[in-house]
Symmetry: C2
Subunit: 439 residues, 2 copies
């Protein structure tokens, strides 16, 4: 790695993937060349690229760059010092490229959250064994330097909890639903037209993207990788505009939160929609913005809010990692010396506690509330409040919503109660259950 | 610096100043010894201390540590690798110690904002000349890793604006004034009793502490030190509870903000109370919390909110710097290679633009509004709204408040208008002028 320790020659980059982020990195490095050199002590120079289609117009000139049809060939280019992986996906070309680069002792910068979340332990070992840094600031919350904050800014402190609003698409959809009263499907369709949601939105709206980011943040916070499949993951498809409206009446907003806590008995980690108090700082984070929250023993509570996606913010994060490499200031993958400690398994959801919001659709006749209350009592779940809105005058539906808010209870008791409530003949649709975060 | 490059031996610390922060650092290093070693790759070990009174009970045991009555003697202790300066103050012992340490090639970690703001250029030169890192994360916004965010997290991006709520004492006072309707003097006295304000509160409430932090942030953001004396600095003594009340009626809150922007014609940098829209993220940052906001070309707007003071957060920041030193991952003082470029001089306040809130005390008779409006018209200041509250029924005062809100105008025109309004015979007290931040 002689090219890395020389402080006068440029750091030569091979970029795989020239979508909006790849093109954004090339544009940023050109636009900010002066200040990057001043800060890194040397220039960053893109020398080679790889993508699917050479002819596509990306608004950047590729004439002076070496082109590779096969991304993995970038590793064998002796004049490429660092591999920048912007292809995406946990398998296939991206994984092959990153593994090959690390094995060859070449530093890697990636924005690939799925790759890190699913293969973090193996990649961390490759990085350590080959003394090849693996940096991934852009994989979590785009332009927010969340990785650096946890791995270095809070390096002295014991993290107790980490998480936040980790998916801009879901936050945008929930914000527009709240502001306009439109339903999920309508807002999703509009978001797709605006480019805020993918044609296949499931990675975002079913919570998987947030879960990838949460697994990475938890790995950093607790110094040890997390078994991705052990996370509990829910999305936002079941949230109705009625829920946003009832939440508001109760003094809450609804956010999709990823949250991980290290408790005495183990790791709690889940992605779920949550009711948050409307005056809580995280409730104010709207639209495509992300927010990362940490709670630690000495520093207390910290919240960073910023743009979680988009070419500019993501390019800024990728290039900050490149500057760290150019400066020779890199830290190991999980922020601690590599060990062969097994990945952390999250506790089952039923081991948790929480307060809950329930929306039921019930028959509009006397005795329904008594039936539902009896189930909750039998399961040991204590009710805090109840709301049965008067149906609009022109509605003649025999089914009406019933909103219940519980006190703190165990997840296990709640799951039991929901199963029994579903089975009641007066309940005419599957209950919507949303956790309440009070701190 | 052989001790610094050895990764197995502990990094040996000499701490000067054993107030709450110094004692906090010792407690943190003890409490988190396991994770600090795992993250830093070696232990941090306090070996020597210096303070004014050896006998004072600080809740920590000093028996195994070497004691120096004279802080500067820590530098000559061959078994001290790093100096931790927690004495405070821009001159005297703190300055002597830091200069001596850097000259001796010993890395320094400090929480001293005044020292950095006033002597930053000379200290940066000493640090560069002697290859002795100078780190100061704790000098700005306590537990918020603001320095690292700007110097490394946003290293790839061109900062356009930086600032925020940089003084927890002022933010606490303004929050309590808004919530209780109490006046400045009452809330200050209570804050002093609670330990949130010093016996001599002028460093905080007159804006100097925020200005020190702003000068440091601007130096990092723009890669060049800032001439401290060129900053415009106002405090919060003139803010009445009436202003907080009128601001609320107009849809605003009042915050003491430090803001620096690099414009085409130069640096704008000032600490002033500001009206901010009540739904803006920064308006939600209440009590002793601080918030640092950055705006940059690619990453966009970023806001970090957290605890800006206190033993725990400050100790966390100091120790994170020590871990950077232990890891061998330090960056130059202003984040760029040292140069002899002169410090940046801020533009005079009159070169700026802004919208303004004015509270006048005027005689309660017809024609007053016409007189005031005529002055504004003559100065080219355009009015957006006006508010003349009806006096309470039992008040018989001949003087009533008059609230004016202007459109965007030049600071020079506004200064001119205020001078002329003051001179009007119908105006019976000095106007209170507060800037309005609309973005």
């Amino acid at each position: 790695m002689s090219a890395l320790s020389s402080s006068s020659s440029p750091l030569r980059l091979g970029i795989a993937g020239l979508g909006t982020v790849g093109a954004g990195v090339i544009k940023l490095i050109e636009a900010n060349a002066d200040l990057i050199s001043a800060r890194a002590g040397r220039a960053l120079k893109v020398v080679a690229v790889s993508a699917r289609n050479r002819k596509q117009d990306r608004g950047i000139c590729l004439d002076t760059l070496r082109w590779y049809d096969n991304a993995a060939d970038l590793v064998n280019d002796a004049e490429v010092d660092v591999i920048v992986e912007l292809i995406g996906g946990a398998e296939g070309t991206a994984r092959t490229l990153v593994e090959a680069a690390l094995k060859a002792g070449k530093p890697v910068v990636t924005a690939n959250k799925a790759l890190l979340a699913l293969h973090g332990p193996a990649l961390a070992k490759l990085s350590a064994d080959n003394a090849a840094p693996l940096l991934f600031e852009a994989a979590v919350a785009g332009g927010i330097p969340a990785i650096k904050t946890v791995r270095e800014g809070l390096a002295a402190d014991r993290l107790e909890r980490i998480g936040g609003i980790l998916n801009g698409t879901c936050n945008y959809i929930l914000t527009v639903m709240r502001e306009t009263g439109q339903d999920f499907a309508t807002v999703l369709a509009d978001a797709q037209k605006l480019g805020y949601a993918e044609a296949d939105p499931s990675t975002d709206v079913d919570g998987w993207d947030a879960a990838h980011k949460l697994a990475i943040l938890a790995g950093l916070a607790f110094g040890q990788p997390v078994v991705f499949d052990s996370l509990h993951v829910e999305g936002i498809r079941q949230i109705g505009s009625a829920d946003l409206d009832f939440a508001r009446k109760l003094g809450y907003r609804i956010k999709l939160l990823g949250l991980a806590s290290l408790r005495e008995d183990g790791l709690e980690a889940r992605v779920t929609p949550c009711l948050v108090r409307e005056d809580a700082p995280i409730a104010q984070v709207d639209g495509v913005f992300n927010a990362v929250v940490t709670e630690s023993a000495f520093a207390g509570r910290l919240m960073i809010e910023g743009r979680g996606a988009g070419a500019g913010p993501t390019a800024s994060a990728v290039t900050a990692d490149l500057i760290d490499i150019a400066r020779g200031k890199t830290v190991s993958v999980w922020g601690v010396e590599h060990s062969d400690k097994p990945a952390l398994q999250a506790l089952p959801l039923s081991a948790g506690k929480g307060a809950f919001y329930l929306r039921l659709l019930v028959e509009d006749r006397p005795g329904v509330i008594a039936d539902v209350s009896a189930v909750l009592r039998d399961c040991g779940v204590s009710l805090r409040s109840m709301l049965q809105p008067t149906p609009a005058r022109n509605e003649t539906t025999p089914h009406v919503p019933l909103i219940l808010v519980t006190h703190q209870t165990s997840e296990a008791a709640m799951q039991d109660a929901v199963t029994r409530i579903k089975a009641l003949s007066v309940v005419t649709a599957s209950p919507v259950v949303i956790r309440i975060e009070t701190d």
